[in-house]
Structures are given as C-alpha cells and as structure tokens.
Symmetry: C2
Subunit: 325 residues, 2 copies
C-alpha cells in the first residue's frame, strides 16, 4: 500500500518518504503473530492506516530539526500504533459501522474483538517503545495517552450536555487529539537534538495542528460529503457530542430558536440547515478558529532553518483546512 | 480498605503487609485526577481491587529472594493496574453486570466509559513503569500484555467452538492468565537480585499458580455458590466459552451423549448436572489438574532459603485450590 492516502497530497511526505516506508515496515513487523485471529484483525488495519499524519509530523519535524535518526522511525511506528488503537476503540464507542468506506472491525468481528485489538495495539506500542535506549519517550508517550484517555472520558461524560461551553470543548479536543500531535512534534524535535526552546515551539506547532485538525474533523461531520469522508456524517449530534459550530450557534441563537434546536438534538433528529443564520455563523466561526490555529502553527516554524521538511510542515498545516476526508 | 480481601487469608500477605500498603498508596496516587468523571470511575475500582494476588506474589517473591526494594513497590502497582484494566475490559466483553457482589462499571456507567477506563488504567500502568530507571521491566510487562491480549483474542475466536481441545484451552489460559502471574514472580525475583536460574524458577512458580488459579476460576463458574463467588455462575458456557471440565466431558462422553450436550450448549441452556458421569469426571479431572499445577509450583520453591515469605508463597499456592471466590 502507499504510505500516504490519496486524499492527502503525497508530496507533503516527500522529504521523509524513505523513513516513512521504514515506519510501515516496523509497524507491520511489530504486529506479526502466529495466531490466525490476530493476523486477520491486523490485516484489516491497513484500511484504517490512511493518512499516517502523526508519523509524518514526527518525521518531518525530525528532518527539519537536524535529521531523522533510528529512534524517530521507532517512535513514528509507536504513535501510529497508539493512534490506531484510539480509532479502533472510538469505533466501538460510537458504534460506527464504516471507516474509510469499508466496514469497521467492530462491525465485522464484533465489539469483543475490537476492544481486544485496541488493547493489543496499545500494548505493542509500549512494547516497541521499550526497545528504545532511554525512558524519556516512554514517559512522554504514556503521559500523553493518560491525557488522551482523560479527554475521551470527559467527552463521554459530556454526551447530551447541550450547554457544553466553547472552553470545555477546546479543553476536550486539546486532550484527546492535540496532545498526541503535540508529542509527535516534541519527540521529533527532541531526538533530532533541538534545544529545549525549539522543542517547546515544535510541541506547540503539533498542538495547533491537532486543534485545527479536530475542529475541521468536527466540521466535516456536519458539512462533509459522505462519499468523500468515507463514513456517515451527522453522527456527532446523533451521539450527543456537541462540537464547535453548534456550541457557537446555541450560544448566539435567540432563546426560542435555541429551545427548538435543543428539542431536535434531544430527539436525535437534528439536521443541519446551512441557511439558518446561527448555524451559518457557527460554521464560519469554527472554520475561522481552525484557520487561526493553522496560522499560529505556521508562525511557530519561523525560527527553523529553511528546508524542504519545513516547507512540508507548513504545507501540511495549510492542508488541514482544505481536506475533505 | 484492607489490602487483602477477606475471602483470602490475610495472613498470606503478612510478610509484605507494609509494602502492600505502599502499593495501594502508589496505585491511588497514580490515578489521581482533577476530572470528576475520572475520579468517580476510579473510586469504583476499590471494589474490583480485592485479592491483590499479583502484587502479593511479586512482593512475596521479592522478600523471599533477597528483600523488597523501591522498584518492587512500583512494579506491584503496575501489575495491579494491568490486572484491573483486564477486569474492566473483560466485564465489557462478557456483558457482566456484577463483580464482587456490586454492579460492574459497564453496568453503572455504560460500555463507553468502561472501555475508556480500561485504556486509562493500562496507560497509567505504563506511565508508572516509565518512572523506573531501566527499560527492563517495561519491556517484560509489555511483552506480557501482548501475550495476554493474544490469549483473550484466541478465546474470543474460539467462542462457540465445542471441539476446543484441552491443548488449545491450556494455551489460551497460559497466555491470558498465567503469563501475568509469571511475570510478577519473575520481576520480583529479578529486582531482588536473584540469579537467572532462580528467576526462571520463580517465573515458573508464577505460571503454575496462574494455571491453577484459572482452572479453579473456571470450576467456580460451573460449581460455585453465586453468593460466595459474588457474580452469576454458568456464564462461561452461556457465552460459548468451553472450559476444562466440559472439554474433558465432551471428549469422553458417548457420541449420543456428546450430541445432546452440544445441543444444549448451542441453545444456551446447558445446566450443570454433577450426577452425570462424564461431567463428574470432567470436574474431577480439572480439579486434579489444578492440584498438579500447585504441586509443581510448590516444588519450585525448594531451592529458596526458608523464610516466612517462602512459606507464604507455598500457602498462597495451596490456597488457590481451596478458594470459593
């Protein structure tokens, strides 16, 4: 398979195309098993493993910061294993039946197998991590997965809370999504030998990209084209997950309007009406916040020496706003 | 709470009572969170955390092998976190509603929260592990959780397979249960400074105890007293999980008898009849195999210098056969 899915410009990964192929190899080696059931489930993961955004961010940061080393290859496989585990468990939580246009693992093999496959992936992530010379990466990755789980738990606790504030929403996505992209860039920079300030800036770059990515993801759930996105849209509202456009719309709507919206959300029959002024404003507001995060991300690259990898990081940040899947 | 549940003789843990209290403290410190949902879910874990068998095995091995060190306290909390994670996820897989006489987390908070709490626990296990000076323990723990997940996946893949062999059953329980008790004793011995042979023997002790423990667990599901066990019995057969007594009974029964048993299993209305000869033989066979594993475990202790901790390990092994919960 190609390392980067066609929905992303493959050129973004050009400066690290070789290392990315090694990451895929590492990933597959780590999951090799003599058990048919394990092999069958892991084979399905190839479909999930699309954009390889996180390994790409980690490797591009490494390349831009001094060069890709052995540790980066291992860590890029680790973060992809972590990410895959969250996807597999997310699909169980959301009772999702489709991902990237094909049946999810829970749909095909049941929730039991999907829960266990997620556990298997996270276990292998730490197994791979423990092959590194120092504990530094393991400590940072584990602290990050602690944070990701907290974010996911907070999201579950807030399901059906139509008074969720923008601040709470941003806190949740910072934990569940941005913490992982942040640690990708942080570890890419750290193991390339960058100084503490530069590592901090790259961590901030990764966090900004993660925030933008999640806001756009949530926008696509509302406005995306199902055939492009590769899974049903409108799931968030149906599952009681309030995202930025609706939070903003509910906040700004007239009381009567707000009540009608909540009635529909409660009944699980909320449908997007882009002509409805508060909704239109909410969508614009979310898109503009995603844009701000991308601008902030790109600004954080200014101290890096110019290189193809730096340009690719900037292009990746910009692309987050244009993606349709 | 008392560190060891009343269903286990508290005297078993006497030689390591102090360290065990430190483990509980470590465990609770690691799970401390500012998020109400996390605090609420973790508070429920106190009910799950009953026997503390794995920390006890780790600490007693350490004590018998040269003395409990700092690393042992950390690792005992790590293995308990891993064990708790498997319990929480197992209850989701088995749709269990009761554990230790109280409602399970999935029953109280839904499957989503239970899946995420399991993830949170495993993440914290690795986070705690990464605080140790070397990667050795992390590598061994991760290799073990890989094996545990494989065992669980194999078990799910074999659900409803009424031709499961004894060999396959033993392979599954060796992975899903015995691998964790083995690594407890292995790490207890390793960090107490025992030589490689002695570490290997203690790993074998832990594996034997784990095998006996799981066989007795499966026996209790068939013959246990629901009020003592603290959860419904007969679940394994209802969930399509064949265990040693039934494997043996099916294997030895006359063809017509076997067919009738399978019909009942298929229809989910298998009821234990202890007067039925093949079943009675199957129960005896499983009990005698558990006894053999315990004898093998105790024999492996013979090279240890005599101490209260060594006696407690032997007593713990013996107690596995007598436990009713």
């Amino acid at each position: 398979m190609s390392a980067v899915n066609a929905t992303w410009p493959t050129t973004l990964a050009d400066p690290v195309a070789g290392p990315l192929r090694e990451v895929v190899h590492h990933f597959e080696e780590e999951l090799r098993s003599d058990q048919p059931i394990v092999r069958e489930l892991c084979a399905r993961l190839a479909v999930y493993r699309g954009k390889m955004l996180r390994p790409m961010l980690l490797l591009l940061t490494a390349e831009a910061g001094g060069g890709v080393r052995r540790e980066h290859i291992t860590l890029a496989a680790v973060v992809e294993l972590v990410h895959m585990a969250t996807l597999v468990h997310d699909d169980v939580l959301d009772e999702a039946e489709l991902r990237r246009r094909t049946a999810t693992i829970n749909r095909l093999h049941g929730n039991e197998a999907a829960v266990l496959l997620g556990d298997y992936l996270i276990s292998h992530a730490y197994h791979l991590c423990s092959s590194l010379g120092s504990q530094h990466a393991a400590r940072r990755i584990a602290a990050t997965t602690n944070t990701v789980c907290e974010g996911e738990l907070m999201q579950v606790a807030q399901r059906g809370n139509w008074s969720l504030t923008e601040e709470q929403y941003l806190d949740i996505i910072r934990r569940k999504t941005a913490s992982l992209t942040a640690v990708c860039c942080e570890l890419g920079a750290h193991f390339a030998g960058m100084d503490a300030d530069a590592v901090g800036r790259m961590s901030g770059f990764g966090a900004d990209i993660g925030m933008a990515f999640q806001i756009v993801d949530d926008l696509l759930d509302l406005t995306g084209d199902e055939t492009q996105v590769g899974k049903p849209v409108g799931r968030d509202a149906a599952l009681g997950k309030l995202t930025l456009p609706l939070i903003h719309a509910l906040c700004r709507a007239e009381p009567a309007d707000r009540e009608r919206m909540i009635e529909r959300l409660d009944a699980g029959r909320f449908r997007l009406n882009g002509h409805h002024a508060p909704i239109r404003d909410g969508l614009d507001y979310a898109a503009s916040m995603a844009r701000s995060f991308v601008q902030s991300a790109v600004a954080r690259l200014s101290d890096l020496p110019s290189s193809d990898a730096r340009d690719a990081l900037a292009a990746a940040a910009e692309f987050v706003l244009r993606r349709r899947a």
